[in-house]
């Protein structure tokens, strides 16, 4: 089996447009959540969202390339560019060497809605334009990025609800570990437009603490009242150790464990057994004990039910000592992207020697009081971290990364 390392990371989120900005936000516990008034006008129960600036790609990509890119592709291009730059990989290299791509993405709502609205208005599909089909397909991110970056290895999108980004890293890890690929660009992307989140808002999953947006996402807190949606994109360049050494690449971290499971029960409610199995599988894969994990980046989204189960699962497997925070307290729930972005956030913490705070954690509930949640930034050395992601349908993913020695 091959060792799998990470040689580049990129991030574009409500916490910043690159690693440096995001590092500052994470360290300071700065929230990226705002009140988006237009959501009220179209019937949202909650107008809270993580806000991401639309990047201007004119001059970076030609018209043909931009025409096919949905909103989340734009974010993913920026994060992937940053990751490739850090990995010291350019288009010349990619034309000579095979890299694959697996990205988590589970919707392209805006593009779908605009195409349907367009054909209803015009009553003529040929007046939709050429970009519509390529923006509306669920694989829009991998379809576009593989073309832009001339990727010639595996090319697919992974849809697994809010665990999509995490599973993308897990699958890239499996492919490299087993020798099928030397390099895979993994990540997750999430559109933030209101249309993408209307049906999610419709099941009353979102916090309604609209008077205080930055306080609304409070994972593990007794008084949490729902999640806040967010988005953007995150990219990780996974590579075999041999490939990285051959290139003389700087190694950021090593992926050592990937656990997964399915609950096989309710479509939206989590269960304890599934999460525990995912955590235990990741530890077994990594040949580690619970005490070897220095920090857990929790999935915890700030929903009353979800956080309860994760607190129990963490307590059951890790006990009460391992530091835990949910960066969703600052970003909101970055859904399809979350598993990838939270690994990037964790690697930023590893590099700079701190644990980002679980902001808004003021009062524990009966389950969260049993685990070690940090409400404030903690400066400390992190060697090994575990990141959890869980999604609708009961899909669970846990990834362990460690510093490379």
């Amino acid at each position: 089996m091959k060792r799998v390392v990470i040689t580049g990371i990129g991030i574009y989120s409500s916490l910043g447009i690159d690693k440096e900005e995001v590092k500052d936000s994470l360290f300071k516990g700065k929230s990226g959540i705002v009140f988006d008034a237009k959501r009220k006008d179209i019937g949202f129960r909650s107008a809270l969202t993580g806000m991401v600036k639309e990047p201007d790609l004119k001059g970076l990509l030609d018209r043909r390339q931009r025409k096919s890119m949905a909103e989340q592709c734009n974010y993913a291009f920026v994060s992937s560019n940053e990751a490739l730059t850090q990995a010291n990989i350019d288009l010349d290299f990619l034309s000579q060497n095979e890299m694959g791509i697996i990205f988590g993405n589970d919707s392209s709502s805006k593009a779908v809605i605009e195409s349907v609205d367009g054909v209803r208005a015009k009553k003529d599909t040929t007046l939709l334009g050429s970009g519509s089909i390529f923006q509306a397909m669920n694989c829009t991110v991998t379809m576009n990025l593989s073309t832009i970056f001339k990727l010639r290895g595996i090319n697919m999108t992974l849809s697994a609800a809010c665990a999509s980004g995490s599973h993308s890293v897990g699958m890239g890890y499996i492919l490299i570990r087993n020798g099928y690929q030397d390099m895979v660009m993994c990540g997750g992307a999430q559109e933030i437009n209101p249309n993408a989140m209307a049906s999610f808002d419709g099941i009353s999953a979102f916090s309604t603490n609209e008077s205080n947006p930055t306080k609304a996402s409070k994972p593990f807190d007794r008084d949490r009242d729902g999640l806040v949606p967010g988005g953007g994109a995150a990219t990780l360049i996974l590579e075999s150790l041999e490939s990285a050494e051959k290139r003389g690449a700087d190694i950021i971290a090593e992926v050592v464990g990937y656990g997964f499971s399915s609950n096989g029960e309710h479509i939206s409610n989590p269960n304890l057994d599934g999460q525990v199995r995912s955590l235990e599988m990741a530890l077994k894969q990594a040949e580690m004990l619970p005490k070897d994990i220095d920090y857990i980046n929790a999935h915890a989204t700030s929903t009353p039910v979800g956080d309860t189960f994760e607190a129990q699962a963490i307590h059951k497997v890790f006990g009460s000592q391992t530091p835990v925070t949910s960066t969703k307290s600052m970003t909101g729930h970055e859904c399809w992207m979350a598993g990838a972005s939270e690994l990037v956030y964790s690697m930023i913490m590893m590099k700079h020697g701190f644990i980002a705070p679980n902001i808004n954690f003021e009062n524990p509930d009966e389950f969260s009081k049993k685990i070690n949640i940090f409400a404030d930034t903690e400066e400390r050395t992190l060697r090994t971290i575990l990141s959890n992601s869980f999604g609708f349908g009961g899909t669970n993913s846990s990834v362990i990364i460690t510093t490379y020695d």
Binding site: R63, R64, K67, L127, G129, S130, G131
Partner: protein, 80 residues
């Protein structure tokens, strides 16, 4: 709509859509080569013509259009 108006409007929307300088859109220039059109670009060309001139070009009609002058002639027949 006069020929001058057609030419002016065409230069404006084609240069914006296909990101070329208006200066390269001259009567005798080849439309496909100047705008670097592939099959997907023709789809967008149909859309943008409909938006600006209010009629829909049939794909087959492009076979008769080589230069920008040909295009202006074609538009004149449609908007008059």
């Amino acid at each position: 709509m006069t020929r001058v108006e057609i030419v002016s409007k065409t230069k404006e929307f084609l240069s914006e859509e296909f990101e070329v300088s208006e200066e390269v859109i001259v009567d005798e220039a080849n439309l496909q080569e100047t705008l670097d059109l592939d099959s997907l670009d023709y789809v967008d060309l149909v859309v943008i013509i409909e938006e600006n001139f209010g009629f829909k070009v049939q794909q087959n009609d492009f076979a008769e259009i080589s230069t920008f002058a040909d295009f202006y002639d074609y538009v004149e027949t449609k908007v008059q």
